[in-house]
């Protein structure tokens, strides 16, 4: 039993202005605390302080990033808005994909919890993003994960990787959502701060879109799903222990949440039935900041108020204080606004799914969020001051003093070994680089079949899911970011992240239409990091305009540091594309013998920041590759037309690792080899062999074309002004990749170069070659 405790009510707070609350321990600054006092006209109660502290945190309020993020909205053109049904600001953006279907998708970080407790941190990352998708009224149809870890051979990486992967596997598999792709990247800049960015995608009919706006005085505020427990509270325990003294309760509550995917699976089905029966006016998931966030955002977005009886919250642990209940980040909970006359039917549905449900209170029209506890009012605030009007900082920015020297330190002035034997050795080093390895060890642990709509998944360029079984309408999704490029030039790095994910989607034959972004950076209190962040937002916002794709939502994760050193700027961009029939998708590997292999785009001397520079010279310096957005757009249109007309039999984009990596992946996808010649490419583009194989020039795609379609395909390229050059033929008989004037690689050797590093570092690959 909990001992009765003194309640810090609004009345008590007004009468005791001298009481000092431990706001600094909750991350609230002196000036922010003063601002709260100004807003309330008195000191906050401990419950109010709990709410403001979490809602005004960097994580929830975007107080350091907001001034920069505005660019995404300000730069958006009418053309970018044309398919956008719901933009930034809601739980997730929604895009019209045609035929009456809408798709919602979003990528979000769960970085810090995943370092402390990799399994639960990653698992709840998946759970949280999936609830964002449900909140929009959609059925979730897939997940992806963009992962960044420390050096592959560091002992702590062997702790973090298996934990994160099994957490994602456990949660995603138990939810019955196919995991269709993502990325894995190793770099010591993430050693003490891995990045776990999870993406979820869902579909709904246009008329089923739901928003998190509490409207209609008298409507009921209903909390349903898992019971509220003491997990994910972290700092809030300070309020209880320091203000009110120790009474045998745990002095500190765990900061990391604990996930139960079964509860979430049942919650998904329950929500979908509630939507189908039209029993919900508005809905919001409970993630960061729990009930504090859900109540204040619902009321603020709806321009209303709310009265909530906190005693009605169903608890797992009855020793929780009011402040802890307000801040608890227990998973698998949702808050709905329900018309009183529909409440009974609502409860029938939650009863059918055996989902715990409690009616907490009512929507009001007085613009106040009032929360009562044990008969006393402990919160009485304007919800907008909590959820919307949080502090906005114009933090100092400064171009890093080291950047000029770094950019001047190009690898291009070093001598390159273009002898056959030398190139063979370089190929082996590059292909076995940790960041070019097959993800099989990871994706083997993910279910990519469930729901029966997976048209493409890793190792294809993008994941692709069928949306409509009748027409074959589908969506393709790819995530990308290269922290090395970001470190060399944060603005260009962000543009490159978009260019690559855009091209990955285009390589499947889909047309890219929208993006979600997860911006991972160091501490905003470091002016150099703030400058990197601002540069990246500008780069990404401008690139979005150039490629005509809007940002639909996403998140910002700051304070990602390994010790005092910020991570490499890592703007993960997830691009979503539409394909009118997934049967027309372009495979990423070769299938048949004797088809011509064409390289689209041109290759320049762009080895700075490349995998080759790292693998051969352990070098990071110079300027990242250039991007030509008009070319990227034309290339995407060409691939879409070619897919539509059935002119190409496969397409695979070139990115990190350059041509050699794409050739290897295209061979290994279906175990079909090729004979390649580089002489014409080298002559046309004026480059040496090393550059031809390892340069990371953008705007390039490798395609295979059946001989009978050769003329038509070349005509298509000429008509669209895309440089095209035949660089080889597929060879299904020799089982080898034969590069003229360089050498021959048996496909089994390529396979071992491409697949060995992860099993060596993290344990055997179950089932061997998958």
């Amino acid at each position: 039993m909990s001992t009765p405790r003194h309640i810090d009510s609004v009345e008590h707070a007004a009468a005791t202005p001298e009481v000092k609350l431990p706001y600094q321990e909750l991350g609230v600054t002196d000036s922010e605390y003063q601002e709260i006092i100004n807003l309330l006209g008195r000191r906050p109660t401990s419950g109010e302080l709990a709410m403001y502290s979490v809602m005004w945190s960097e994580h929830c309020s975007y107080k350091s990033s907001k001034v920069h993020l505005r660019q995404f909205g300000q730069k958006m053109t009418e053309s970018m808005k044309k398919n956008l049904m719901v933009g930034m600001g809601q739980n997730a953006g929604v895009v019209d994909v045609g035929e009456g279907w809408a798709v919602t998708f979003k990528i979000e970080s769960h970085n810090h919890p995943s370092y402390i407790e990799p399994f639960q941190g990653a698992a709840t990352g998946v759970g949280g993003i999936v609830r964002d998708i449900i909140s929009m009224g959609a059925r979730p149809i897939g997940v992806m994960d963009a992962l960044r870890f420390g050096a592959i051979d560091h002992p702590d990486t062997a702790r973090v990787v298996p934990g994160v992967v099994s957490g994602i596997s456990f949660y995603g598999n138990c939810l019955g959502l196919p995991n269709i792709g993502g990325e894995t990247w190793f770099d010591s800049s993430y050693q003490k701060n891995p990045l776990v960015n999870a993406l979820a995608v869902g579909v709904m009919r246009h008329e089923d879109i739901h928003l998190a706006n509490a409207k209609g005085a008298g409507n009921k505020v209903v909390l349903f799903g898992a019971r509220t427990g003491g997990d994910g509270i972290g700092g809030a325990s300070i309020l209880a222990s320091e203000t009110f003294g120790d009474d045998g309760r745990p002095a500190k509550r765990p900061a990391v949440q604990v996930g139960d995917p079964f509860a979430e699976k049942v919650l998904i089905e329950c929500c979908l039935e509630l939507f189908e029966k039209d029993l919900v006016e508005a809905i919001q998931d409970l993630g960061a900041a729990g009930i504090s966030c859900a109540t204040s955002e619902l009321a603020a977005n709806g321009d209303t108020g709310m009265v909530v009886e906190l005693d009605k919250v169903l608890l797992r642990d009855d020793t929780l204080t009011a402040e802890e209940i307000l801040m608890s980040e227990s998973q698998e909970r949702m808050m709905a606004i329900v018309k009183p006359e529909l409440l009974e039917r609502f409860l029938e549905v939650t009863g059918k799914w055996e989902v715990d449900t409690s009616v907490l209170g009512d929507v009001t029209d007085d613009g106040r969020l009032i929360i009562n506890w044990h008969g006393e009012t402990i919160v009485d605030v304007d919800p907008k001051t909590v959820a919307i009007d949080s502090p906005v900082y114009n933090r100092p920015m400064e171009r890093p003093s080291w950047l000029d020297a770094l950019q001047a330190d190009t690898i291009h002035t070093r001598e390159r070994d273009n002898t056959s034997a030398g190139v063979m050795d370089q190929i082996r080093s590059v292909l076995s680089h940790a960041n070019l390895q097959a993800a099989t060890w990871i994706t083997n642990q993910y279910d990519h079949y469930v729901l029966g709509n997976t048209a493409m998944a890793t190792p294809d360029d993008a994941g692709m899911l069928r949306v409509d079984e009748e027409s074959g309408l589908g969506v393709a999704l790819a995530t990308d970011a290269n922290g090395r490029y970001g470190q060399l030039d944060p603005r260009q790095g962000a543009a490159l992240a978009l260019a690559e994910s855009y091209r990955n989607v285009a390589s499947t034959g889909a047309t890219p239409v929208a993006i979600s972004d997860c911006l991972n950076y160091g501490s905003p209190e470091n002016p150099e990091v703030m400058w990197q962040f601002a540069e990246a937002v500008t780069g990404l916002a401008d690139a979005c305009v150039a490629l005509d794709v809007p940002v639909t939502g996403g998140n910002v994760s700051l304070y990602n540091q390994t010790g005092e050193t910020p991570i490499h700027p890592t703007p993960v961009v997830a691009t979503m594309g539409i394909i009118d029939d997934v049967a027309r998708r372009l495979p990423s590997g070769w299938q048949d013998d004797g088809e011509n292999i064409y390289l689209l785009g041109t290759t320049g001397l762009e080895l700075d920041g490349s995998i080759w520079a790292d693998a051969i010279h352990s070098h990071l310096g110079g300027m990242p590759p250039k991007v030509d957005f008009d070319h990227e757009k034309a290339l995407a249109e060409l691939l879409s037309s070619a897919a539509h007309e059935g002119l190409v039999t496969s397409a695979h984009d070139l990115s990190t690792g350059g041509l050699i990596q794409s050739l290897t992946e295209a061979c290994l996808r279906r175990h079909v080899g090729a004979r390649i010649w580089l002489s014409e490419l080298q002559e046309r583009d004026g480059i040496d062999t090393v550059t031809a194989l390892f340069s990371e020039s953008q705007g390039r795609v490798l395609v295979s074309v059946a001989r009978e379609d050769d003329v038509k395909f070349q005509g298509l390229c000429a008509g669209r002004g895309i440089p095209v050059l035949r660089v080889g033929v597929t060879d299904a008989t020799q089982g080898a990749l034969d590069i003229a004037d360089v050498g021959v690689f048996d496909l089994d050797e390529l396979h071992s170069l491409h697949e060995s590093r992860l099993p060596e570092a993290f344990g055997p690959l179950v089932g061997g070659r998958a």
Partner: protein
């Protein structure tokens, strides 16, 4: 035929099983775990997933759900029942098939395109295969290791109850490479791999001909229509 697919809380592949039934030309019927009503179906599929969260042993709680009493009854009267993955676990927990399933020997969840040999075509769910036909269907599980005591193993082998065996790779440490079993009469069949994920070109396992083109799983469902095949 009318083919029922049971949804338990935590069922994941129920929609896939309903689609497979439809693609095989049957009428799919959704069944709910709390009902004592089989809606006069002619055959029943227990789909994959994590019924009731698999909080106890996998399938143990589902085996005691209201609808399972009716299914055990119907199976006794010869109604064909197919248990896939979690459904296989449920059939064992319900005593309809012998043995048990434990965590994979390597300790990981595994999802892969798995080769199997169909060792017994005297069942309502495999009659459409050739004897000893090799097929590829997806496998995805965390607890798929087949175990049984010596005597039971001797019986399932001796009586020809082993219906599917893993080929090439044993992905979970199953004894005797056992991937699936039938009952004595060939009406009840259970297996760990997922035939319902290999029923439609473009969405199944890779084949030599094209990517994701495998439809070996469809034969499980079309076999149902082959009346009178049981010896």
């Amino acid at each position: 035929m009318r083919v029922g697919v049971v949804t338990f809380p935590g069922s994941l592949d129920d929609r896939d099983a309903l689609r497979a039934v439809r693609l095989a030309g049957h009428e799919p019927v959704a069944l709910w775990h709390q009902e004592h009503d089989l809606h006069s179906v002619d055959a029943i599929v227990l789909p994959g997933g994590f019924s009731y969260g698999d909080y106890l042993r996998c399938g143990a709680i589902a085996a005691r759900s209201p609808i399972m009493a009716d299914i055990i009854d119907a199976a006794g009267k010869g109604v064909p029942v197919l248990g896939i993955c979690n459904g296989f676990q449920i059939l064992m927990e319900a005593g309809l098939l012998p043995g048990g399933l434990i965590g994979n020997d390597h300790g990981q969840f595994i999802c892969r395109d798995q080769e199997l040999v169909v060792e017994n075509t005297d069942t309502r769910w495999t009659a459409g295969f050739q004897d000893n036909q090799h097929i590829v269907i997806p496998l995805k599980n965390g607890e798929g290791g087949y175990i049984a005591d010596e005597e039971t193993l001797k019986r399932v082998e001796g009586e020809g109850l082993v219906t599917f065996r893993y080929v090439g790779i044993n992905p979970n440490g199953s004894l005797h490479d056992i991937a699936g079993l039938r009952n004595e009469s060939g009406t009840v069949v259970g297996l760990m791999p997922h035939p319902e994920h290999a029923v439609e070109e473009g969405f199944g396992p890779d084949t030599d001909q094209a990517m994701r083109n495998g439809t070996d799983g469809l034969t499980f469902f079309t076999s149902l229509a082959l009346e009178g095949v049981l010896r």
